[in-house]
């Protein structure tokens, strides 16, 4: 059964028909062609598919697409301001906070949700914020350092 669905994808209004049981990750990747959220497990275990729904970090693989009706869904594709990198992206680059890069989109979105609600987090709060995001190669220290570093940088306008 197909159902109509309308929501804001990275600030742009989209309307489409989706399968009633479709999850948000499939809609973003296969239907809208936004490949920035990644499939890692499909079980909510790895965080590679993390996106923001109305500014809050969510696992898109476990989110029923129908549940984002009328809401704002932001992915890594929205983080840059034109050609300019978001401070988080710059800090990840400077701090070597990515290796294979597969967890990076989810990490960045989880970190953005944190900094948007808490511009000056403690190390413990950063660890807590990315605790649902699995990284298998970079190592968490560089990622935590990058998030803390980004918090100290001048803010880009969201």
């Amino acid at each position: 059964m197909m159902i109509p669905l309308q929501f804001h994808h990275n600030g742009r209004s989209v309307a489409l028909f989706v399968g009633g049981g479709a999850n948000l990750l499939v809609v973003l990747r296969d239907m809208l062609g936004d490949m920035t959220p990644k499939f890692g497990c499909g079980q909510g275990g790895c965080g590679a598919c993390t996106v923001l729904i109305d500014g809050e970090a969510h696992l898109s693989c476990l989110t029923l697409a129908a549940s984002v009706e009328g809401r704002a869904v932001d992915t890594l594709d929205s983080l840059k301001d034109g050609p300019r990198l978001h401070p988080l992206q710059q800090a990840f680059m400077d701090r070597f906070a990515a290796q294979c890069g597969y967890c990076t989109p989810g990490m960045l979105m989880a970190a953005k949700a944190l900094l948007d609600r808490n511009p000056n987090p403690s190390r413990v709060e950063v660890v807590e914020a990315i605790s649902g995001n699995i990284c298998r190669c970079t190592g968490y220290e560089a990622i935590i350092d990058a998030v803390l570093d980004a918090a100290q940088r001048p803010r880009a306008r969201a």
Binding site: R29, D30, G33, M35, T36, K38, F39, G40, C41, G42, Q43, G45, C46, A48, T75, L76, D77, L79, K80, L85, Q89, F92, M93, F96, A98, Q99, C100, G101, Y102, C103, T104, P105, L108, I134, C135, R136, C137
Partner: protein
């Protein structure tokens, strides 16, 4: 060659390659932080079909019958692929370098040898329809006795896992059932030791658990070729493996990859590409075959488990005089790369130490477990774990500091290794010294002044000289490797300071041109 480069490409690269200590940005970092890096699964192709495999429910069973009638009628099914559809349904990965005998089918035909072995592939319009068709396949199994323990597998009367190797061990050079190392007389060494200890070390299989699961997308390209987007860590290795299995010239295949979402050795086995390409060949459509997380964790090949028995003889003064190793590498049901891991393991004995009597037997054993594969130093890592645990035990036994104990036994330049190669550029002594210093671990002055270069004060140009009669350690005349019997007298003052980073870099510094 070098001159040509200098003449024509003089501006392209600075000859000054001193990069250590400077930050250098990864070339793929911008793509990673913006999400622009393209992994295999980020390709969306028109009309793409989805491939899923039916996996064996048993660890060891004969396949009596496969009933596809219901699955064939299942909605969305485009094609069902069986073993007989695979042009060359038997392969071993290292056959590309003429090592080993073809022993593993792409799709099992008469028998399954591990739980989760692929039997039938279904190509359907969607993921879901492929799964639904899989659920409708009926396989009639006749379960067979299983063996999961490496030592049980070697016992007489053990179930034969893989008929290619009826004795459940990989065959080296068409006749040897294990890798063997003999140096000196290990029993005499034990007899002359003050203490002899033996311990058993058992490793577990380890799943690489990359965040991106194994997978590939294959699509018909122009001129009868196929383009393949893949997660492989070994692009050309996978390409050649597919060319062999599908019996096509390798220039039929165009592999695109290199951006891998974590591999660690778990993406070298060419697990998905042959079936994805075959699916594309049979349907004329792009076909995607990606592991789900459960498949990755359960049936993706792990680091093979090793069981190691280590027996060492040590003298009261801290010298290890004999080391005997018996080890079993659990290859699972098929060879893949484990035969090579065992060679590496044997080549690593007895660790980076000079021991006059060494004895090693290393087996590559087949069991009904998931086939093992590469992972970060496989073959060496587990052996090192066992050896270093044992080193700590030995140090405690003779009442020596563990760091000093390692320095005492470390190989030196010019020592004869158990493989009858002269040790060169060893630097282990200096490594331990630096590690001790960094860790603020106190070691005694005499150990801080030791060097991996014997007779460091007057570096004897051993190469240029007429071949001085080397002590023949092969015959183990005693335990006297080149004047190392007594704790050596402090060598003539090495370039001061005689320890720490300066020392370490100076060792390598002299090697560099």
């Amino acid at each position: 060659m070098l001159e040509l480069r200098k003449e024509y490409f003089a501006d392209e690269r600075d000859d000054n390659l001193n990069e250590i200590g400077k930050g250098t940005q990864r070339q793929d970092m911008l793509g990673h932080v913006t999400g622009a890096s393209t992994y295999f699964n980020d390709h969306k192709l028109q009309g793409m079909l989805h491939l899923k495999v039916l996996r064996s429910a048993h660890s060891h069973a004969r396949i009596r019958r496969i009933d596809l009638s219901e699955a064939e009628r299942s909605p969305g099914v485009r094609r069902i692929i069986r073993g007989q559809d695979v042009p060359r349904n038997l392969n071993t990965l290292l056959s590309l370098i003429n090592f080993g005998v073809d022993d593993e089918p792409t799709l099992a035909v008469d028998k399954v040898r591990y739980k989760g072995e692929p039997i039938v592939a279904v190509v359907a319009d969607s993921h879901r329809e492929a799964f639904e068709a899989i659920a409708k396949i009926r396989v009639d199994y006749e379960p067979l006795p299983t063996v999961f323990d490496v030592e049980d597998a070697l016992k007489a009367g053990a179930p034969v896992v893989n008929e290619t190797y009826p004795r459940n061990t990989f065959t080296y050079h068409e006749r040897y059932d294990h890798q063997k190392l003999r140096f000196g007389d290990v029993e005499r060494g034990f007899a002359e030791a003050d203490h002899v200890i033996e311990h058993r070390y058992q490793m577990s299989p380890i799943e690489h658990a990359p965040t991106e699961t194994n997978g590939s997308i294959a699509a018909p390209d122009t001129n009868g070729r196929y383009v393949v987007y893949t997660s492989t860590q070994a692009l050309f290795f996978s390409l050649d493996t597919c060319a062999k299995i599908l019996d096509v010239p390798s220039n039929t295949l165009h592999f695109i990859g290199g951006t891998v979402g974590g591999g660690f050795g778990g993406k070298v086995d060419t697990l998905t590409e042959p079936l994805a390409i075959l699916g594309a060949m049979l349907t004329g459509k792009p076909v995607r075959y990606i592991f789900g997380r459960e498949e990755e964790m359960q049936y993706g090949p792990p680091r093979g488990a090793e069981r190691i028995y280590l027996k060492d003889g040590v003298r009261r003064d801290g010298r290890i005089v004999a080391r005997k190793v018996r080890a079993y590498f659990d290859s699972g049901a098929y060879t893949r790369l484990s035969s090579y891991a065992v060679v590496k393991c044997a080549a690593h004995l007895p660790g980076p130490y000079t021991i006059p009597n060494v004895y090693g037997d290393i087996y590559c054993v087949f069991t009904n477990r998931t086939p093992a594969t590469a992972m970060r130093g496989f073959g060496v890592t587990a052996m090192d774990f066992a050896i270093e645990c044992q080193m700590d035990r030995l140090a405690e036994l003779v009442g020596l500091d563990p760091m000093e104990f390692r320095i005492l036994n470390a190989y030196r330049d010019g020592d004869m290794k158990a493989h009858r190669r002269e040790a060169k550029n060893t630097a282990l002594v200096e490594c331990v010294q630096v590690a001790a210093e960094k860790a603020k671990w106190p070691i005694r002055e005499e150990f801080r002044r030791m060097s991996s270069r014997q007779g460091v004060a007057a570096p004897a140009p051993r190469r240029e000289q007429a071949p001085a009669p080397r002590p023949t350690y092969e015959r183990a005349p005693g335990y006297e490797p080149a004047g190392r019997n007594e704790p050596p007298p402090p060598p003539a003052p090495a370039p001061a300071p005689a320890h720490g980073a300066t020392r370490f870099s100076s060792v390598f510094g002299t090697r560099r041109r």
